[in-house]
Structure formats: structure tokens, C-alpha cells
Symmetry: C2
């Protein structure tokens, strides 16, 4: 399914717990203009929706001239209930539990609004504008590793919603049943093992246990530990930081092995800020895939055919679009359809 | 999608490592006649295909009169590569690695042959003739717990194949990364934790460790331990046998929590011989679902609506069709379509 090449305008909104971005977009020209602002969480959801809708109206007025307006796409922190368009205990939007985001936007704008989780928006972007487009494939599963772990699944060109819009929550697949506690109430979720937060928590744990002298020294200089700081330490040769990333790749590999066995898609994409550390993650990740997914072992891209098995072409790759995936995905949401169980 | 009500005849084949069953079927009358025989594995795949095709021709000749013949469905042990219809290292059909089952059948029969894994055939039967029909739902995921663990996924009325026909292999999802070894080369797969074989292995391990006096006594009488024998011991009050089933339910719950988070379907079905022990499995299974799947916790069937969340209606139930699911599913395969990534 290709983007419409006509003179079409859409608006994309990337709603985050910290910042809010709104962009005007055409398939031919990409993002025409974007507006970024702080998300005024302290003012409550109605104020944030008002900010958002003001920016949307402004951009429509500025860029509509002569173009066909195709609607507004919104990527929001989840969990989201669809098609109702309501949030349920979103950990990154405190005070928004039960908020009918879609309804409040439609009431103000009287336009088509397509709401998806931010991870779904990123997956759609990677499908339509990133790796999916380059490789010419119609289905993919994307994990977005940031503060949390988001997931979006595209099956035959459509975002998979499941029955209540909550399909694609592999960030909360259990990897280690007795592993670190997760914000969702479970233990050992992928999010608790492979997010940027999890990497920092793992470092803090081994520092507290007196097992990571290099990282302890780094921390004692007043450096605030972050996933990036730890990645740099690993690249600079710190063995403990390397091991934290290797373990993160392992957790990611266990999760992806499960997803490959269940879905058997041609492409799995790892995005979000942590994907910048692909070289630190990938060795242990692929070791786990080979060991834990015979579907991967039989079908991995580039594997020599055995017993007449053609190359199934399963690929696991870092995302192509980077930090813009969420906003771009929101911009193209009105141009694609989704699929419900 | 309803079964065709016309005068249609199909043939279903349930190919197992031990026995081979072939049935003539009409949607109105069900199975008209079935033929069961030993699978002559020692004679090689060509001999088995000949046996199968002889029985198929016989049943077509006997039952075709006036009916429209709609094709032959075959449920086979996996892993299968589709659409090629070739087996890859099937653990229950030794000597069949790389065998082009579909091609060999089509060559002999010159008829439409639809080949699926036995677990996919069972899932289709449960969808079209079992719980899916009763509940009026269009998507489900079924786990078949027998000697191994099979899996079939129906999305919007179609079996999900994935890119190479290997979608729906949740039996090899990793549950405990350092758990018991699995025939696929991994550790801690669902199959290694929740199949009938896994239950017996767990009993043998604790007997060998001297921790299960009741089961050791049972074994010392010459009773061959099987999942059924252990289920009876549990129902008769043996605490160790009870604990083995509770742990099995726990592994199943961890797997299903992951599937619910990923797919968000309205129905998950547990079938195969182990489903007869549902009462021994279900308590720990549902404990894990509540803890490990916030999608389940938000959407479980019968849960009071919170924050405007309507009842999502996620159900996890034992299969309705029992041991005939595989054969019935094979019979209706020619009447349904499948979906590919």
C-alpha cells in the first residue's frame, strides 16, 4: 500500500509526557512545519488537548491552501482502548486514566482524528517510510526501546489492534518470571529488562552490590547515569557496562524469539533511543534468536537453503527512522487503515 | 464465515506419528465415515503417502455421489513450510525432514489438497465448529497440549501462516530461560514445561530427588507414569502431583499472558489431552494472567467496566471439541482460507 501521491495534507501529533509536537505533512514534501511545546501535565488533560488543538488549527490554516485535508493522526502514550480512544492508567501521563482523548479532540476539531499508541505510530512509519518501504515487505513487528518499551505490529499493511486496541504490548511479555519488577505490576517484563530505565537500574544494582568499580567511580564524579552514559562507558571498554548491554540484548533476543515463533513475519525492527546501541546489543540478541527460535534458525535472511527450504528472509534490524518515527507515523496515520480482531 | 450448506463433500486426513485417520465429511452431516490405520513410519514417507491416498480415493468413490467435491485437507505434524508444503525436522515423523508432502499428494490425487499443521487444523475446528462458533467470535489462539505443544492462530476467520507457514509456534516460546531442555534445542519452552511429556519428566525429576514419596510408591508398584496417572494422583490428593499440575498451569499462564499482550484476541483455547486436567491447571494459570498481562486484567470477560472501559471479553477456556478437533479441522480446511505475511 503506497502513500497517496495526490495533493494531500495531514496533521500529525506526537503526544509525550514531556513534550508535544504537532506537524503539517504532505506525502510529497514530508513535514512542512512542526510546532513543539511542553506538555502541561500539571494543568490537566483538557488544557493539553486545548494546546494541541490550537496548534492543529493553526497548521491547517497555514498549509491547507488548495490541498485536500485528509485528517489528523495522533500518537499517544498507551495503554489505549480502541476504537473508543480512551487511555487506561498511562504511566507517562499521570492523571489521564480514563480520559477520552479521541472524543475530546473530535469535539473540538470536527475533523477525522486517528488515534494510536506512539509505538503503533512508530511501527507504521517504519513500515511505510522506513525499512518496510526499502525492503518491500507488508508485515513487521517493531519494539521501541526508550524509557519504556513500546510495540507495534503491522500485518499485511495494517496496524494490528486486536479486540480492544491493546494488541502489540510485547513490552510487557514476561522474559524472566522472577526478574526485576515492572511498572505494570509484573516481574521480568521486557520493559523491566531492556528499556533505557532498565539499563540504568541494572547499573545501580551492581554498583550498590559493589561489583562495578568503573561505574561506581563514574557515578562518584557526579555523572548522572543514563543509558547513553553507560553505552559510552561500554564502548570505552568498561566490562560491567558491556555486560549490562549484553544482558539487555539477551532479554531482547528472548522476546524476539517468541515473537518470531508466534508471528513468523519477514521483519522485526528495534527502535527508540536504545537502538543507537545496536552494536552493544546485537551479539547476544542473535545468540538467543538462534537458540530459542527454530523458526528463526530455519528462515533467517541470508541463511543457505536446506532441504529445499527457500530463504524465508526473516530479518531483525535496527530502525531506520530514528527519533522522528513517532511524529512521522502520526502524520501518515490518516492515510492507512488498521485491523481489529 | 459460515460453512457452506450446499451438498459439499470433503476429505480430512489426520496424520500422526502413530496413527493415520482419513474421513469423508459434509458440513450438514459431519463425518460420514472414517478409516484409521497405523502410520507405517518404518516403510518411509512414500509408503505412508500411498496408504493415505488409497484411503482418500476409496472414501471419495464411496461418498461422492451427487455431491460437489471440495478438496482434501491434511493436518500434519510440524514444522511445515507453507505454501511449499514441505516438512522440516518434524520430531514426530522421523525420516521426513525435507519431505514435500503436499507435492507428493497432489501428484497422486490431482485434486485440491490443503495442508496445515495438526495444531492449525485443531484451531480451525475450534473456531468454526467449537467455541468460536458458540461465542460468535472471529479470532482465537489455541494451544494444543499433548506429547508436544501445538499452536494455531485464527485472525478474522483465517489461519495465520506468517511468511513461511511457521506462524503459531507458541509451543516454543521461552517461559523459563534456564528451564528444562526442549527437543527444539532451546531451554524452558512451553513444550518443555506444559506438555504431557513435561509433566511426566517433572514427576521423574522429583522422584529421583527423593521428594515425592507418594509418586515414588506409585511408580514402585510398576505403574507407568503418564500425565493421566499423575492427574488421577493429584485428584486423589497427592500434594506433589498437585504441585506439578499447578506449575504446569503457571507455565501456561505465563505463555498465555504474553500471547494476550501481543495479540489481544477475544478467545484463547487450551486443547489436547492435558486440557482434561483443566481443574488442576486453571487456578495457577489465571493467577499468572492477572499478574502478567495488564491487557487481560483490563479486558477479562465478566470484569466490571472501569473508567468507561467496556467489557473487552477476553476469554481463556478449555477446548470444546476434544480429541476429534484435529480430524474435524482437516475435514473443513478446504472450506476456509488462510492468511500470509
Amino acid at each position: 500500500m503506497a502513500l497517496d501521491d495526490g495533493h494531500v495534507l495531514t496533521i500529525g501529533v506526537d503526544l509525550g509526557g514531556t513534550s508535544l509536537r504537532v506537524a503539517a505533512y504532505t506525502p510529497e514534501l514530508g513535514v512542512l512545519k512542526s510546532i513543539a511545546m511542553r506538555t502541561r501535565l500539571e494543568a490537566g488533560p483538557i488544557a493539553v488537548v486545548d494546546d494541541m488543538c490550537d496548534a492543529i488549527r493553526l497548521l491547517i490554516d497555514e498549509h491547507r491552501n488548495g490541498r485536500t485535508f485528509s485528517g489528523i493522526g495522533v500518537g499517544s502514550p498507551g495503554p489505549l482502548e480502541l476504537p473508543a480512544g480512551r487511555l487506561h492508567h498511562p504511566p507517562n501521563l499521570s492523571g489521564w486514566d480514563g480520559f477520552p482523548l479521541l472524543g475530546e479532540m473530535q469535539k473540538r476539531l470536527e475533523q477525522t482524528v486517528v488515534l494510536e499508541s506512539d509505538a503503533n505510530a512508530a511501527a507504521l512509519a517504519e513500515y511505510a517510510l522506513g525499512l518496510g518501504k526499502t525492503l518491500g515487505i507488508e508485515s513487521l513487528c517493531m519494539l521501541t526501546l526508550g524509557t519504556g518499551v513500546g510495540n507495534g505490529i503491522v500485518l499485511n499493511g495494517k496496524l494490528w489492534h486486536g479486540a480492544t486496541g491493546m494488541g502489540g504490548e510485547a513490552g510487557h511479555m514476561t522474559i524472566y518470571p522472577d526478574g526485576p519488577s515492572c511498572g505494570c505490576g509484573n516481574n521480568g517484563c521486557l520493559e523491566a529488562c531492556a528499556s533505557a530505565t532498565a539499563v540504568v537500574n541494572a547499573a545501580e544494582r551492581i554498583i550498590a552490590a559493589g561489583k562495578a568499580p568503573g561505574l561506581a567511580a563514574l557515578k562518584s564524579t557526579g555523572t548522572s547515569l543514563s543509558a547513553q552514559v553507560l553505552a559510552k562507558a561500554a564502548l570505552d571498554g568498561d566490562l560491567d557496562a558491556k555486560e549490562i548491554y549484553a544482558q539487555t540484548g539477551r532479554a531482547l533476543g528472548i522476546c524476539l524469539a517468541g515473537l518470531i515463533n508466534i508471528l513468523n513475519l519477514p521483519l522485526y525492527v528495534v527502535g527508540g533511543g536504545m537502538a543507537n546501541s545496536w552494536d552493544l546489543l546485537s551479539k547476544s540478541l542473535f545468540e538467543e534468536l538462534e537458540r530459542r527460535s527454530y523458526v528463526y534458525a530455519l528462515t533467517a535472511q541470508g541463511r543457505p537453503a536446506a532441504n529445499g527450504m527457500p530463504c524465508g528472509g526473516t530479518r531483525v534490524l535496527p530502525a531506520r527512522l530514528g527519533a522522528e518515527a513517532g511524529l512521522l507515523g502520526a502524520c501518515i496515520l490518516p492515510l492507512y487503515s488498521s485491523d481489529t480482531a
